[in-house]
């Protein structure tokens, strides 16, 4: 396979919402290229007509009965927010 380019890494990092320094980016570029190149042999496995496995149990979507339960305590939940305003979690502006 072709090595990943710096643009590839920057694109993935953006999709993953992870800010990388230039040196981190370059290290990841080399390491991810190396790891992905080890995976190329998978292409040689004949999977014609084979269904993909998502998980190994026969789980399927089920409906539960709609019974009310007490919710988590609001303060117990909100105490974990890094930035809180009373009953709210405060976030930065989504639109500038």
């Amino acid at each position: 396979m072709d090595p990943l380019t710096p643009e590839d890494v920057s694109h993935i990092a953006q999709l993953a919402y992870i800010k990388l320094s230039d040196s981190e980016s370059e290290k990841m570029r080399i390491q991810l290229t190396n790891i992905l190149s080890q995976f190329q042999a998978l292409a040689s496995v004949d999977t014609e007509g084979v269904e993909p496995t998502g998980h190994t149990t026969d789980a399927h979507t089920i409906m539960r009965t709609d019974e009310p339960h007490p919710p988590l305590e609001r303060d117990d939940v909100l105490q974990n927010a890094p930035d809180r305003d009373g009953e709210f979690v405060r976030v930065r502006p989504v639109l500038e």
Binding site: L20, Q38, L72, V94
Partner: protein, 493 residues
Amino acid sequence: MTTRSTNSELHFATARELRTRFDNRELSSVEATRLMLERIESLEPNLNSFITLTPERALKQAEQADQRLRGSGQEPTPLTGVPVMVKDNFSTEGVETTAASKILKGYIPPYDGTAVQLLKEAGAVILGKGNLDEFAMGSSNETSAFGPVRNPWDTDRVPGGSSGGPGAAVAAGECFVGFGSDTGGSIRQPAALCGVVGMKPTYGLVSRYGLLAFGSSLDQIGPMTRSVADCADALNVISNHDHRDSTSVPAPFADFGRDLESGISGMNIGVPREYLVDGIEPGVRSAFEASLKTLEDLGANVSEISLPLTDHALAVYYIIAPSEASANLSRYDGVKYGLGSTGSKTSAEATESARAEGFGEEVKRRILLGTYALSAGYHDAYYKKAQKVRTLIRREFTDAFLKFDALVTPTTPGVAFKIGEKTDDPFKMYMNDICTIPVNIAGLPSISIPGGMSKSLPVGLQFIGPQFGDTVVIQAAAAYERATPWHRGHPPV
């Protein structure tokens, strides 16, 4: 072997032995818990197997357990009054839960995960939270944001990972039972490297509700113990059907200890030759060959089998697990809990900064790898292809279990390695999991037990069973354990 357990070494007793002492009124749970807390205090500067200790809660649970053991209230269980550790990726109400990540420093869950809830109901005494590789991503416990765990057999060496804390703690006698999670070997590999028993049950037997998710189709909770019987007892406590985990399978389950004494005469055991990889250490190979001889002496029919797709398991795993992780870890956005970001102008910048600062290098690497495998243009070539090969790997195992009751392999290609030895080469580190990963891909039950020594370090022996054949691997492991001395060896601590 360095030492053997004697009556004076309570900390190396099995949970069953401890319970017998409780029942005989020789000792109370509070006394046992105090003894553990003292031992932890003296060993922790060297081992670092705990991230959080909860002594007050533990002593309170021990007091309640003592009442229950004395006959007031509910019938005691095999874990009533027994001091245990849970890995720090188990959600614990009111007790900090970090998954060994800086991004969750200070996070206090408002609820208990199902396994923790079941342990509390069973009367277990939870001493604290065990160290691990960050978000369970690692094979050496070196990626923890709270420092590496040291192997009690040789503190210059790793305990394995990601459940390195529970592995080291059970081996060193800091607790009687540890609970870990296993996505690609994270219970069995540290169990092997620390010389204890570790089991990954069939996927779906233990609820994942409240387990901080890594690879949801692969993650499974399981026990780490000093005997196979303790492992069966602990599995009986934590397995159940849970409507809060959609992949939880219907109960009731068998008593996992029902075949502990059944022996393996006439059992057909397969040895998949692909697991004896080129890089296997000579000491591990010779211990394994001696183990095969023991199994034959016990009356098992041992013969070789080929599972050719094993060669692709590592690639399948390191595509599927990071892909699932990249989705699961998107919840750490610096808004709802954990590390936030000050000074960022926009929401996107705040999230990017929190994740840049909060995640360690290995976690970032896997998120990026998974994001790549799932991204437009690569999804079919990587993720979907891996899922198809996963189907074929499952089929290969299903076919093997038409002929064999169980398979046996080394748990790891080598013994515990030096801290820092493999951190520069991620792929080399991934090779540690070569013998354990296929089991998770297929959702099978598997147990690692002490199977010899090499260079004064423990070697693990792994049994793999068919789906829901958990009692079979326990049966085989128990028979081997009775015939060998390895489980009686303890590290010099």
